[in-house]
């Protein structure tokens, strides 16, 4: 019997580079993950008709993450494992040359095991390690929080004077929370997005928001705004152009906050669907939504806005009963091209939705649509990360438990 590389030719699929059962092109798309982590990107600038967009789906790996982040403009992911290790996958090392020393493979960074949080902006990264804040990326937008403007190519220690627990970046702000639930901000003050009572200039060093809130338990930075959870209620500062702040605010003017914008007491986590909408998960695992729906911000796939004040039929932050319950994870965002996207996990099932997810849906094996669709068949997803600069740069990663 003939053999190649020690394999009987009847067993040729076991030899690297030989895939005789997978069609004439010689390769097939990677299967949608069932365990581990898988990344994908959009590919509208795809000129080879012999292959499909599903080839933009990467191979699954056995690595599993409890938290992932990426930046808008490049194919880079950073993940934290349950044991506190920090890992990355990057197809470019820009804005992280000293960290991303290996490309196109999940690679561990350093040997520390006390990484707690990671977030990505447009071309900036934020980390919490051992209660301290670290920054990487472009420093010119004053998002470092120490007054400097230097660009960092690996995580650089910025702030250790507080014990930090969570950090969230938008394109041009850094929002960070300490163990007391106090909120500090750095970056552009546009639309009162940093909670400093001004729209002028930038907050160069981490500055506490003007109302001195304590007890914030979750927060999310969005386009020129920040949404905070305190006592199950929602506080907002910044952009409210689509009345995404909540039913206590009748105007769509920027909010000089943070102030109370939703007085229910059942909110656990929030995320900003760009400047269109705010999504929140309740203590019962349901989804509340406030704002504009025409970019499919609603996981129930309705296009009905919820911009009303308390008691109105379209009251902001009404529960989306059609979305069901069992939601444990929601993320959303806005690309540099002003179009929004979302992703979530319900009962362990992963979903993508929103205008800029529509080609990623194809990449992940679904029909092209802005509606929220389930990804794969697995029911053990743990976290998702999604980001993008424009329609050709959307990228997403899924990780299972």
């Amino acid at each position: 019997m003939a053999s190649i590389s020690g394999q009987n030719t009847s067993n040729i699929d076991q030899v690297d580079g030989f895939f005789t059962t997978q069609g004439g092109s010689g390769i097939s798309p990677q299967p949608v993950l069932t365990s581990g982590t898988q990344a994908a990107q959009v590919g509208e600038s795809w000129f080879n008709p012999d292959v499909t967009q599903t080839f933009f789906r990467g191979a699954s790996t056995t690595h599993k993450f409890v938290k992932m982040a990426s930046i808008h403009n490049y194919g880079q992911f950073i993940g934290i494992k349950a044991n506190g290790e920090l890992w990355y996958w990057a197809n470019s090392n820009i804005y992280g040359q000293a960290m991303f020393t290996t490309l196109n493979a999940w690679t561990r960074y350093g040997t520390d095991t006390d990484w707690e949080d990671v977030t990505g902006g447009q071309i900036t990264w934020g980390f919490i390690k051992g209660g301290d804040f670290y920054f990487m990326g472009y420093g010119g937008w004053r998002m470092r929080g120490d007054g400097g403007t230097a660009t960092e190519s690996s995580p650089a220690l910025i702030s250790s004077s507080e014990t930090w627990v969570a950090v969230s970046m938008s394109a041009q702000t850094t929002t960070i929370r300490n163990t007391a639930g106090e909120m500090f901000f750095a970056g552009y003050n546009t639309d009162y997005g940093t909670g400093q009572g001004t729209t002028s200039g930038q907050t160069a060093t981490f500055t506490q928001e003007q109302n001195g809130l304590t007890g914030v338990t979750h927060h999310s930075a969005g386009y020129r705004r920040c949404v905070m959870v305190r006592g199950g209620q929602i506080y907002t500062t910044g952009n409210n152009i689509q009345r995404s702040a909540g039913p206590l605010i009748a105007s769509n003017s920027a909010i000089n906050g943070p102030i109370l914008t939703y007085s229910g007491t059942d909110i656990v986590t929030v995320t900003c669907f760009g400047d269109d909408a705010t999504l929140a998960i309740t203590t019962g695992g349901q989804v509340r939504m406030a704002g504009e729906a025409n970019q499919y911000s609603r996981p129930d796939n309705s296009t009905q806005d919820q911009k009303g004040t308390t008691g109105q039929a379209n009251e902001a932050f009404s529960i989306l009963t059609g979305a069901g319950s069992g939601w444990t994870f929601l993320i959303a965002g806005k690309t540099s091209s002003s179009t929004n996207w979302g992703a979530g996990i319900k009962n362990g099932e992963a979903y993508l939705g929103g205008t800029y997810s529509q080609v990623l849906q194809v990449v992940m094996g679904n029909s092209q649509s802005s509606t929220w669709q389930r990804i794969g068949t697995t029911s053990n997803f743990q976290c998702i990360e999604m980001s993008g600069g424009n329609v050709n740069e959307m990228h997403v990663a899924f990780s299972t438990s």
């Binding site: 507080e162 400093q196 200039g201 930038q202 907050t203 160069a204 060093t205 500055t207």
Partner: protein, 80 residues
């Protein structure tokens, strides 16, 4: 505010105001091409901070928290 800028102006550098050390300012434009061009001169714009009443900021330094109260006034003005 509208100020004249030049082809060698560094639009990334920004500037500070010692009265409000936790803040910084930049032009609204990111390069000379975005600036208004009139009679052979380029003009950029920026928004200074106008306080109509005292405002307290609590910000972080290497030594810890620093609290300042800034009196009413206009801050972040660029020397011309």
């Amino acid at each position: 505010m509208k100020v004249e800028v030049f082809v060698d102006t560094d639009f990334e550098a920004g500037w500070t105001d010692p009265a409000v050390p936790n803040m910084a300012w930049n032009y609204d434009q990111t390069n000379i091409e975005e600036c208004e061009y009139v009679d052979g001169r380029y003009y950029a714009t920026y928004e200074p901070m106008v306080l109509t009443e005292p405002h307290t900021f609590t910000y972080l330094t290497e030594q810890g928290r620093q609290t300042i109260t800034v009196p009413p006034g206009t801050y972040g003005l660029l020397d011309e």
